[in-house]
């Protein structure tokens, strides 16, 4: 996975969040405070502003910049979570201009570990972690197979899609949605949804 693909990934992600802004916000309106789409587009608009400054730096710098930018522009719960995800992901691949499958796994693992440390989600809490935990498990299983990053991502995308759908029947135990108790059941988690778009756009960028 080359640096240019990372830049492409980020641009696609910005586009998708803009397209899905209302959809994400509607998901959040059902069980949160109706701002997740607004938060993500605000954050990625800032990322797009910052990107030219670091586009010629190494991958780690780019990823860390994404993290710092999200952290200082998103706010709410998803700001520190995604901020940490990109920041820790970047720190895990220090100095690289391209990522091997192993690098990629290390990056995702470190990022998701950041989410876990920051938000302390447990599996089944109905958060973005319920998307990432099965994805990391699947990545780990396949990482030794000799797949390149593109093949790896393509292979785990169905896992992510299933994990996303699996958030629907859960009762939230973290974040704003938790205050709804049983009324949170039956809705797809907004943060898991925006996380799914990260893998979907990456798959497109690598195709």
């Amino acid at each position: 996975m080359h640096k240019s693909q990372i830049l492409d990934w980020l641009r696609r992600l910005d586009q998708v969040y803009t397209e899905k802004k209302d959809y994400l916000t509607d998901l959040d309106a059902a069980i949160g405070d109706a701002d997740h789409g607004i938060n993500m587009t605000r954050g990625f608009a800032k990322v797009m502003e910052k990107l030219p400054e670091v586009a010629d730096k190494d991958i780690a710098t780019i990823l860390k910049t994404v993290g710092m930018t999200l952290m200082s522009s998103v706010g709410g719960a998803s700001g520190p979570l995604y901020g940490t995800f990109w920041l820790k992901g970047g720190l895990a691949v220090d100095g690289k201009e391209a990522l091997s499958a192993e690098d990629f796994l290390r990056m995702i693992e470190a990022g998701v570990d950041g989410i876990r440390q920051r938000g302390r989600p447990e599996p089944g809490d109905k958060t973005m972690y319920d998307l990432w935990a099965p994805v990391v498990a699947a990545l780990k299983t396949r990482a030794g197979n000799g797949d390149d990053v593109a093949a790896l991502v393509a292979a785990i995308l169905p896992v992510a899609a299933k994990a996303l759908a699996d958030t629907i029947p859960l009762q939230a135990r973290k974040g704003r949605a938790s205050y709804l108790g049983e009324r949170s059941i039956g809705h797809q988690d907004p943060g898991a949804t925006s996380s799914y778009y990260m893998l979907e756009t990456l798959n497109e960028a690598l195709a």
Binding site: I38, G75, G76, A77, G79, P80, G83, R118, R176, Y179
Partner: protein, 352 residues
């Protein structure tokens, strides 16, 4: 939606500009946004910093000043501020004795302040974070993100602000703040929804004869809806939710100087003979006269339950934009708390 605003995109910024113009004793900074005392940093004094989404004014920005907050970080309406705001604010107000972050327990606020604490500590500034989680409408801390931070926040900012002014060091400020939080409980009732400027329409629909019980401060739905009832009934319900609330145990995460430490805290219920500060708060759209009817009932319920109200605070202090409704906070006091409650304070939102 009818509001005294210009473009919805600039609501918070323009209100802050108005504050800066009206209160030269405050400094307002943008990019990143924060407010602080114009005389900050104060050498040797612990600096108290709070923050959260906007829409709760006068909290927090209106409580910056002598005897209360050193700095405040306003987010967008109902959206947590970001760590860079908190870090910049902490650096601006630290006078060498460290910074106490006073944080309302909402996932976003908690995580952003946690990141800020790590960054501030990495810069060599002593830092502590204390959570306020006092909303008894949330019963359960295992199945939820825990009790929300509501009315006790105002009282804690006042009391810990006075202690910092009086020379308490960071640990003592943190201990006092934790105690105030553990001694305080709140419950809120909405008569109408609020309208978030960016949304342009009421957050929820409440019928002409309905009220929402057990609300937070972001227009989130409460525990249940009731038919509208006389203030005696509503205020009694709220008061009893607070006074009859049993012990509440949860785990909080505090910065211990090097990393995060989990603490299990149990708030004991009120007991006959307790002395309390009674705080009757308007959600923003309810005029103060109606709050006195709430206070009248609250005083009667406290008397029945054997609680003595030794001080009170009545008015709009922690609001939810234009929402009509009220919240009640009762804070058990001891001589330490009472002394700092009575200390002078000079802020735009609270003066004594």
């Amino acid at each position: 939606m009818k509001k005294l605003i210009n473009d919805v995109a600039n609501v918070v910024k323009e209100q802050l500009e108005g504050m800066a113009l009206a209160h030269p004793e405050l400094t307002v900074r943008y990019k990143p946004t924060f407010l602080c005392r114009a005389d900050a940093p104060i050498k040797g004094k612990v600096a108290l910093v709070s923050g959260g989404g906007s829409g709760h004014e006068p909290m927090h920005g209106g409580f910056v000043g002598q005897g209360m907050l050193d700095g405040a970080c306003p987010g967008e309406v109902f959206t947590s501020p970001t760590p860079d705001q908190m870090v910049a604010c902490a650096k601006a107000v630290d006078g060498g004795a460290g910074v106490l972050f006073l944080v309302k327990n909402y996932t976003g606020d908690v995580m952003n302040f946690e990141m800020a604490a790590e960054l501030v500590a990495a810069d060599g500034i002593k830092v502590q974070n204390i959570l306020i989680d006092d909303d008894v409408a949330v019963k359960d801390s295992l199945w939820t993100a825990g009790r929300r931070g509501v009315g006790t926040t105002v009282l804690a900012e006042k009391i810990v602000g006075a202690a910092a002014e009086a020379g308490y060091d960071l640990d003592r400020c943190a201990d006092l703040c934790r105690k105030v939080n553990q001694y305080g409980r709140s419950f809120g009732v909405a008569l109408t929804s609020c309208t978030v400027p960016a949304a342009g329409k009421p957050t929820f629909d409440l019928g002409e004869t309905e009220v929402e019980m057990g609300i937070g401060i972001h227009g989130e739905p409460g525990t249940h809806r009731s038919p509208i009832a006389p203030v005696d009934v509503l205020a009694r319900y709220a008061a009893e939710q607070i006074i009859d609330d049993p012990a509440y145990t949860r785990t909080v995460r505090e910065w211990d100087g090097a990393g995060w430490a989990d603490k299990v805290l149990t708030d004991e219920p009120f007991a006959r003979g307790d002395q309390v500060i009674a705080f009757v708060n308007s959600m923003g759209g309810t005029p103060v006269a109606e709050l006195y009817a709430v206070y009248r009932t609250l005083a009667a319920v406290c008397e029945e339950k054997g609680l003595t109200i030794v001080r009170n605070l009545i008015g709009p202090y922690i609001t939810s934009l234009d929402m009509q409704g009220f919240s009640i906070t009762l804070l058990k006091v001891d001589p330490e708390i009472l002394k700092f409650w009575d200390a002078p304070v000079k802020t735009p939102g609270l003066v004594r």
